[in-house]
């Protein structure tokens, strides 16, 4: 069972030597208790204390890494059931499959299609980060050639999917420097698959149909000397799967039940691309470390990649956009000029409404430390000075000929002072951004 910070503190040297990077042993103990630090960071700790702490201090959920170089992916090490309690740490890895029934040009095309599932939204690159080679053929040679072809044509992290130890051994042998995830070991193949994983330094997925069978299986694999394990709960209805994923997460985080203290992988193969994406969205929210889909439709991946992006955002930190002038459409020197704050939610709402108006415009983003219009105004981060400074800094005078500034309706009260500070004519825009299209089309004219 987990120890409290004070219990841990009693076992530490209490020298406050700072070598762990914390100011005091007590601070370090608190970090250990929250499972955000590792005991190894303390060089002075006694062997006896080490033994006592090791079991309790390890993160309740292991980290598992696979893939190579810049495309290495990392899952696990989650600490909470709900994102508002802290945050979710390791964004779900989304993967698409490539069947080993494909050969030659068909296989090449499929790999290319998986590789190209990369997008950019709100200034961030998001994309599929793994490719699953699936041994649908049941044939070891086909599996090996498909794995080799994938390794040659894709730098994405690789997941090798076969229940046959012989096929797996042959394929891993050829691509081991790509550090693939071996998927999966079952109760009857645990020893063989674990041996392949151990000899090649790859993580392995454990496949079982119940939580009880799963914990027996991971113990078996661990006994073979493999600690990088991913849980693959298979053969259940979606409903049972979601309940069991939640239960496994709770068992590992709240009960620190080590046999389930690993990240999870889910395969979604039923139905068309829309149905797969729908199921994937639920699995991302509910604790799947990896989700593998059997489709390469961009329309299915863009939304679920966005789910990962949003759900794994740190709830303590407001997401911000860069303070500058954003041209929407192709504005000219007569285009409207308006401002909003750099809280991303505020900005993107305004941006989408301006786009909807089809009136090419400039949006000046004022740095309000990631707060919304009203919050920034009440916190004095949005006032005539911050707006005037932003206007000067981003040279808005050079962008438009007119001298009219549209301001958010909620801060109409600052019109007078702003007019004095800038010598621009202040036009009070709507309070709700959704009224911007009408405002720009009718009032601005």
């Amino acid at each position: 069972m987990a120890l409290t910070g004070l219990e841990i503190f009693k076992l530490l040297p209490k020298t406050n030597c700072k070598k762990c990077g914390m100011p005091t042993c007590l601070a370090f103990a608190m970090q250990l208790a929250q499972k955000r630090a590792k005991l190894e960071d303390c060089p002075e700790v006694s062997d006896e204390a080490k033994q006592m702490l090791a079991a309790a201090a390890a993160p309740p959920m292991c980290k598992v890494v696979f893939g190579r170089g810049d495309n290495q992916v990392e899952i696990g090490q989650e600490t909470v059931m709900f994102r508002h309690e802290e945050k979710f740490y390791s964004p779900t890895v989304l993967a698409a499959s490539a069947s080993d029934k494909l050969t030659g040009e068909d296989l090449k095309k499929r790999i290319e299609a998986v590789n190209s599932l990369q997008f950019e939204r709100v200034g961030t690159k998001i994309g599929v980060s793994a490719i699953a080679v699936v041994n649908d053929s049941g044939d070891a040679n086909s599996f090996v050639s498909a794995a080799e072809a994938v390794k040659a044509a894709s730098s994405l992290a690789m997941i090798l999917v076969s229940d046959e130890p012989a096929a797996m051994e042959a394929a891993v042998g050829k691509v081991k420097d790509a550090v693939p995830l071996i998927a999966s070991a079952k109760a009857d193949t645990a020893a063989q698959m674990a041996k392949i994983a151990k000899e090649n330094g790859c993580p392995v997925a454990a496949k079982a149909e119940s939580i009880e069978a799963m914990s027996d299986l991971t113990e078996k694999i661990k006994a073979e000397g493999v600690e990088d394990i991913v849980l693959n709960l298979e053969g259940l209805s979606l409903r049972d799967k979601l309940y069991n994923l939640s239960r496994m997460r709770a068992l590992s985080l709240k009960k620190v039940f080590r046999p389930l203290g690993y990240p999870t992988i889910s395969f979604v193969t039923d139905g068309d691309a829309s149905q797969q994406a729908a199921v994937a969205a639920a699995l991302i929210c509910k604790y799947s470390g990896i989700v593998v889909l059997d489709t390469v439709e961009p329309f299915a991946f863009l939304p679920i990649l966005t789910v990962v992006m949003n759900i794994y955002t740190d709830p303590q930190k407001p997401v911000q956009v860069e303070p500058k002038v954003y041209p929407i459409g192709e504005p000219d020197e007569n285009a409207p000029m308006m401002f909003t704050t750099n809280f991303s939610l505020t900005y993107y709402t305004v941006e989408s409404d301006v786009e909807a108006s089809r009136v090419p415009s400039y949006i000046l983003v004022v740095d309000t430390e990631g707060t919304s219009v009203l919050t920034a105004y009440s916190g004095d981060k949005l006032n005539e000075k911050t707006v005037a400074d932003a206007m000067a800094k981003h040279a808005v005078e050079s962008l438009v000929k007119h001298r009219k500034l549209v301001i958010p309706g909620y801060v109409a009260v600052m019109s007078g002072k702003l007019e004095e500070a800038t010598n621009w004519e202040i036009m009070v825009g709507p309070r709700e951004s959704s009224m911007l299209p009408k405002y720009l089309q009718e009032v601005w004219k």
Partner: protein, 318 residues
Amino acid sequence: MPVPEIVESFTGSVNKVTLGATKDDGGTRTSKVTVGGARNVVYGGSGEETSEKPVIALDVIDTSPDDWPDVLSEPYKDVLNSPGDWAKKCVEELGADLICVKFDGIHPEKADKDESHGVKVTEEVLKAVGVPLVLWCCGNDEKDNQVMPKISEAAKGENCLIGTVTEDNYKSLTAVSLADNHHLITQAPLDINIAKQVNILVSDMGFPLERVVMFQATGALGYGIEYAYSIQERQRLAALTGDKIMAMPVICDVGYESWRVKEAKLTDVTGWGGVEDRGPMWEATTAICLLQAGADIIRMRHPKAVATVKNLIDQIWQ
């Protein structure tokens, strides 16, 4: 190693709410809808502690919408000018559990229609379909206070879900829905403290909290859904730990929010997939995420998105 027991028993639960009045209840609805009732977090504990099956309310706009992208208006092109036919299509062809009549047309900066229009549309939809209705205001306080009471009256005895009331504007609609025996939607701008405050305000006016459904405001996928998601999760936990003022079922406005965003409606983007699939997928994904955080009623728009979400709900809430 034996798997340890993990039982989390909560003292509270989410209220169960039944909408719609049939002949026996003195109304004219032919079906009723019951939502809420969760006794655990989503997928927490045993399946018996889950909520009633979440339901979909399809939007019918009182006046033909002029800002819908083609991919969204196309499936409704024959009925956009007739709220009655529109509602009928939603129920008969698309399997809507509820119809949400959205009174955009009364907004002074839109079509600026008056109470007689509101009453006429309400009567038309009541006559066209037998499912319970959601009656949703335009968001302009003054105009809503003028028109919504008449709409409420026109649906008197039908046990509709009517809203929304906010911290700044709750008195008149709360009073009339109390008198007309409707359920009420309390709205807050993604702020859990204000959400609680609105519930206290309507409760102080004598409105029973058992007849309230909460609207926390909705962010679309990619545009703040994480705020709505976490607020819903926090509200559910508050309800389960016994906070009676936060124990209401939740409604989300997925249709409007997701069809505003560019990922749903841009037509000419390379590498994103066609808008005819992408748009509905954006709406469906937004809905599915919010279901994971405990949404009970979801307002939606596109037939394809509705089909995808219904399919998923059927798999999870058998």
